[in-house]
Amino acid sequence: MGKFDKFMTPLSKWFHVIAGIGMIYVLLISVADIIMNKVFKDPINWAFDSIGLVAVIAIVFAIPEVQVNHGHIEVEVLEARLSRFWRKIIGLFVNVLGIILWSIVAWRSFLYGIDILRSGEVSMTVEMPIYPFIWFQGICAVAVTLVLLLQTINHFRMRTR
């Protein structure tokens, strides 16, 4: 278990760094395109396509780390009124549902990416390949599934102690 934990925590952090690089890329390309367009009247023709696709990286690579820190928005109305036992049971149930959801996303993202690769679908303006970005989504969904699995196991261990 310790090894799994030691693997997932830095992995999520590295993914977070990749998301940050994606975000800075979106900023830099947007500003560069503004300057090229407004000052030199020569817009970057691949800016539009690449901003949309790299935005995927800025989002999906952040999901595992946000999950590690329980940063996704949740409603905390009922939980405080429940006993510790029921909180544990509900936490377990919710995590299992999350694992099912992200497993589906991971599995279907890889299949969807293969479909797109085979059909040769590319971005509209400069015909950038789309499938790698769909696979990035799949890879990150695997990471989220593993984070949820880790949290579920930790949850269970704490309960049985």
Binding site: G20, D33, A55, V66, H72, I73, V105
Partner: protein, 434 residues
Amino acid sequence: MNPVTLAIVLTVFMVILFLLRMPIGFAMALVGIIGFSALRGLGPGLSIVTRDLFDVFSSYSYTAITMFILMGTLAFYTGISRRLYDAGYTMFGRLPGGLAISTIAACAMFSAICGSTNATAAAMGRVALPEMKRYKYDDALATGCVAAAGSLGILIPPSTIFLVYGIMTENSIGKLFISGVIPGIILAAFFAGTVFIMTVRNPKLAPPGGPTTWKEKVQGMTGIIEALVLFLLVILGIFLGWFSPTYAAAAGTAGVIVIGLVRRQLTWQGFLNGVRDAIRINCFIMVIVAGAFVFGHFLTVTNIPTMLVNWVEAMHMNKYLVLIAVIAIYYVISMFMDELALIVLTIPIFYPLILSVGWDPIWFGVIMVVLVEMGVIAPPVGINVFVIYGVAEGVPITTIYKGIFPFLACMFVLAALLMVFPALATWLPSFMTY
């Protein structure tokens, strides 16, 4: 199972998942998969989630949200929030309740460069609350005013909620942004007036601050000027058609970085912290939007939005009655749900209805944002209240809730004013031709 019954059952299940503390975005996506699979088959149901997630995450329009969030977080680490507060203090500090009024003014100005309620509340709370504590302000007034004024972040442009509403309903983002200006200023004035009246009636609530020199007043103005320049760059950029919302936000973010570098207040660590905060906020926002899209797809195949419109048309219901019913529903749901989740979940249902009875879509966007503002401070799930609870060390959450009620009343008055005088929201957008 009949699609309508299925939709009702699954919506109840989704609310139960919310209450069991499943992340909102996850719950909406999961229920959307189940519903879509039940009506269209397992294969399409499982595929829809991947496609919807990718379509939302790779949408160029939504990158504007990413950039506006980055602009807001970097503005905090550049010290802009601090300077705005100082500027407000030099102008209003000597008045009864002057620090609270300064905070409201600073929140209104910070809202002009930050499009999120909780980011505005957190940024200003960290600056203003220690000062108000130092001057022995009443805890309820101090925390209540920051929580409420923080909600101006989504009414005064740029606004993430207007962005999402505009993209989902295919309305002009520029018109929506500009429509929030007058109501935002009015609401800030109402908040300030409320604080003034409260403190005149009970001076112990908020002792006046210390005097400021003319030099300090002039220095304070520079804080306003830089925020004003950024606001004009973004809003005029969109208003005059220079930039798309994404590029306007990127230009604003670049402006914040330039200000930070020129003033030597943006360190490398501050920049990294700003990016890190923006990644986190952007991630949970986009997961909610994507989850709502999956759920929205399910609702579309149930045909409920169309049935609702047909039903209201068949009943020949008065348009004011429809509006009041929709407002009541929004107000109740907003007390329990995150602002963004509320918008993305309800727009597919209520927007066609509102249009069918003849309400202006831009005006409705403003009304909806005001209702959402109430939701972010109203008990039991006021997100801004939780944010301030985290920032204001040692203040019980019940005290913060006690403090927000006068400001909640101001929002009700604004909503009523907008219903009586729709031009407050529609006059400025009428000058835009696209």
